[in-house]
């Protein structure tokens, strides 16, 4: 990659981080924490984006960031109070900034009216005379000697005319204290044309009075150059204020012959080496000062994702190899040797630990994902005229980054739903005795090896009679179907179901909760609803922490070894005679505690055998699919329970219906991982949804 292109990639990555910081900071400010550190961090975020954008000539981004930055600077100075209205503008400006970053990265159209609107709004706030205190009082006293100096690039005079200048220059000690040197300045001058320099040494005192830090020398120089006076002044740009300087254009006719003198030996006295201890004092002090702030970035490194994935794959290999080795050793009967047995145990332990540590590398906090949601809430609250507050909890919970990436869309949809369908309008809320402002709570927490994400609203809750009526009207269930509350709630996830009579353009967008459910399932997750009429609804997502390993039950089916994901298995049982019934020509059900559950012969469903096996000869696994639908899967035997490394079947072959992925077992052979939902769906294809629901 072209190095500038690579830097651009970095820039956009950094933008994402800065936008996250910006949002977090602004939200904190809105909640009332206007401490310097927060305000500075917010300012810095916009400033950095602007800086990088300038380098890549992203003019629209620069322009917007600049106005934004200026307004933030006013807040930083105390010239603008971070009142509620101001903060609202800031948050919206952050959204526009994020959009501009996206457009700059991906191209595409951008509607300038929104950014112009915000620019006007920001400028309006800047003009507010609500100044509480003077800006930078410590600077006010200073006469800014640089303000007069423009920072425009030096313009070249094209006139062939030769100008002559007389330059009188007398450095102050400060000039040297800032690392500038007369010799360099003279060298710069000599680049502009023919230079003659004369050093005045009259002021140099006798040695006894000589102060090493003082400056005693001065220079008179004559320069003949095509350049205009601004170019000559520009040479002294950095030392303005640190020297006496007089630059006079000389009439050409007056050109006089100055006695030529060598540039004087360097006048800056050599800095006396200080004891090192003295140097470390300010640093220690500074460290102590900054100590409380703690910055994680210091201790992180950025690693290419491919490298991490390669490492994860290799560790996966190691796990398999270790299992194979153990099996071989067992087969060879060498475990009688205690030291070999201990060695193998240790190896297994270490391998697992390495695996867990490596998996942890891919884990990331859900914070950025949650931060994005606050914007979604703002937008939809604006669009629906609802007053909403988003409360987030557990943003630090870490999940595999792929899970996070693929969670963004379903989560966005669910948040939109919660505001659009879940929450009532302010007047309706007040009428119901609730505060006008609705609340959506988004939380993440680790629970027994999985992460549970909840989206809860304090809105109206699910109106079950209405949901049921709609489902009947749409033909999703039989008119006389008897459904439990849970089953009615799960109707929301059925394809073709939408409670809004007219699809609103907010929650609509052509996807329903069925799509949300499918994407959660594709991540190996489950989704569940709890709801109380008048009090709100909670959607909980239970997701695996990583997509790379899975807890599975190893089973035999028609001479094949398969792995069934443990999280879908409710219980295992051995069918007794009289519990299995035929239902029609090609389906069987099993009676479990008074209910009937479809019985699926996995070997038959996958085409591994052409006839159903005798249910009495096998074991059944009672599973629950994500819709809460229960099925009994029949396998020949259960072999083992273990964690397996997930291998893609799709990279070299493709998707196989009924199979989620592959894994490698201890004997080095491949075993397929069952997609229980797909097996249930394909096997119940002949059944109507109401039959399925009856099964519960």
């Amino acid at each position: 990659m072209d190095p500038m292109q690579a830097i651009k990639v970095t820039f956009f990555q950094e933008c994402e981080e800065q936008l996250g910081e910006l949002e977090t900071g602004l939200l904190a400010m809105q909640e009332g924490s206007v401490d310097d550190e927060t305000v500075n961090a917010v300012f810095r975020a916009v400033h950095s984006i602007k800086g990088g954008a300038g380098a890549f000539k992203l003019d629209r981004l620069v322009k917007f960031a600049h106005v934004f930055e200026t307004t933030l600077d006013k807040i930083r100075n105390g010239a603008l109070a971070p009142a509620n209205a101001v903060m609202k503008t800031m948050l919206r400006a952050a959204d526009v900034l994020a959009d501009l970053v996206t457009v700059s990265r991906e191209g595409g159209a951008f509607d300038d009216t929104r950014s112009n609107e915000l620019i006007a709004e920001l400028n309006a706030h800047c003009d507010e005379k609500a100044a509480v205190k003077e800006a930078h009082p410590e600077e006010e006293g200073d006469n800014n000697p640089f303000a007069a100096l423009g920072w425009e690039p030096v313009s070249l005079s094209l006139e062939p005319e030769i100008n002559e200048y007389l330059i009188v220059f007398r450095p102050k000690p400060e000039l040297y204290a800032k690392g500038n040197e007369t010799t360099r300045l003279m060298r710069e001058l000599s680049r502009l044309g023919a230079l003659t320099v004369h050093c005045e040494i009259a002021d140099v005192p006798l040695l006894a009075n000589f102060e090493p830090e003082q400056s005693y020398l001065s220079w008179r120089a004559t320069l003949r150059s095509h350049q205009d006076i601004a170019a000559v002044q520009a040479v002294f740009e950095f030392v303005d204020g640190d020297c006496h300087l007089d630059i006079e254009p000389v009439e050409a006719s007056e050109a006089h012959a100055e006695p030529v003198a060598e540039v004087a030996p360097e006048a800056a006295p050599e800095a006396v080496e200080e004891p090192k201890a003295a140097a470390s004092v300010p640093r220690e002090a500074a460290k102590a000062e900054a100590g409380g702030q703690g910055n994680a970035t210091q201790n992180t490194i950025r690693v290419d994702l491919d490298r991490v994935d390669r490492l994860i794959n290799l560790v996966g290999e190691l796990v398999i190899n270790q299992a194979m080795l153990t099996q071989r050793v067992l087969e060879a009967g060498a475990v009688k040797n205690a030291s070999i047995a201990t060695g193998l145990d240790d190896l297994e332990h270490l391998t697992r630990e390495i695996q867990e540590s490596v998996m942890a590398i891919r884990a990331q906090p859900v914070r950025p994902l949650f931060q994005r949601m606050s914007r979604i809430v703002r937008e939809i609250a604006d669009a629906t005229g609802k007053n909403v507050r988003l409360k987030t909890e557990g943003e630090g919970a870490e999940v595999d980054r792929t899970v996070i990436e693929r969670l963004a869309d379903p989560l966005t949809h669910m948040i939109r739903n919660a505001v659009d369908h879940g929450l009532e309008r302010p007047d309706a809320r007040i009428a119901a005795g609730k505060p006008a402002q609705g609340e959506v709570r988004l939380s993440a927490a680790h629970k027994s090896g999985r992460v549970v994400i909840e989206i809860a609203d304090d809105g109206r809750g699910i109106d079950r009679p209405r949901v049921k009526a709609i489902a009947i009207k749409k033909g999703l269930i039989a008119p006389d179907a008897q459904l439990t509350d849970g089953e009615i709630d799960n109707l929301l996830f059925m394809p073709g179901f939408s409670t809004a009579e007219t699809v609103s353009n907010i929650s609509g967008r052509g996807v329903g909760m069925d799509v949300v459910k499918r994407s959660i399932q594709a991540l190996g997750g489950r989704i569940a609803i709890t709801s109380k009429l008048g009090h709100g609804s909670t959607f909980s997502l239970s997701l695996p922490l990583t997509l790379a390993v899975l807890d599975g039950m190893v089973v035999r089916v028609a001479d094949q070894t398969l792995v069934v994901p443990l999280n879908s298995i409710l219980e295992t049982m051995k069918p007794k005679p009289g519990e299995v019934y035929g239902l029609g020509p090609d389906t069987q059900v099993i009676g479990i505690r008074g209910g009937f559950t479809p019985l699926i012969d996995v070997g038959y469903a996958l085409g591994f055998r052409t006839h159903r096996a005798d249910p009495m000869s096998g074991v059944t696994l009672l599973i629950e699919t994500e819709g809460g639908v229960r099925s009994a899967l029949m396998v020949d035997a259960i072999q083992d329970q273990r964690q397996v490394v997930i291998k893609s079947l799709e990279s070299n072959y493709g998707h196989v219906e009924g199979i989620a992925a592959a894994t490698i077992l201890g004997d080095g052979r491949i075993a397929l991982i069952l997609d229980t939902d797909a097996i249930v769906h394909s096997s119940s294809g002949r059944n109507s949804p109401s039959d399925m629901l009856l099964a519960g």
Binding site: E317, N652, G654, V656, E657, I659, R669, I670
Partner: protein, 154 residues
Amino acid sequence: MADMELKASGAREYITFRIGAQYYCIDIMSVREIRGWTPATQLPRAPGFVRGVINLRGVVLPIIDLADRLGFDPTEPTARHVIIVAQTGRQVVGLLVDAVSDIINMPAEKVQPTPDVGSEAARAFVLGVMAIDDRMISLIALESVMPTLAGEAA
């Protein structure tokens, strides 16, 4: 370098192998390795020529029974059978063949068009033929024998 001279003259290297009594070859540049047969894990609802998948150092490798694919009787694999691990694009597969016989150099102009025969498999899977000594060797169209990847098919 010999390799570069070959390229300059338009000659390529091919790996030849036997299926039954017939000889076939593929471009050596697409061959990653050659290994003995190991039992494969059957895939549900796979076409007959897909023998299943094996573990190739952690990669799930689909095995294509080339005999079956070309319209012969399916192979009854034994330990003497060979898997040629071949790659086209990003897809890696194992080709189950009876035996690998040779590596040959062949200038491009010596590859003749496939004779017009009735066999559909021959037309679909053979790019061209070449003569070596008294044998005819058919050049396999690797892309065509591969199973279609999911997602690309639709």
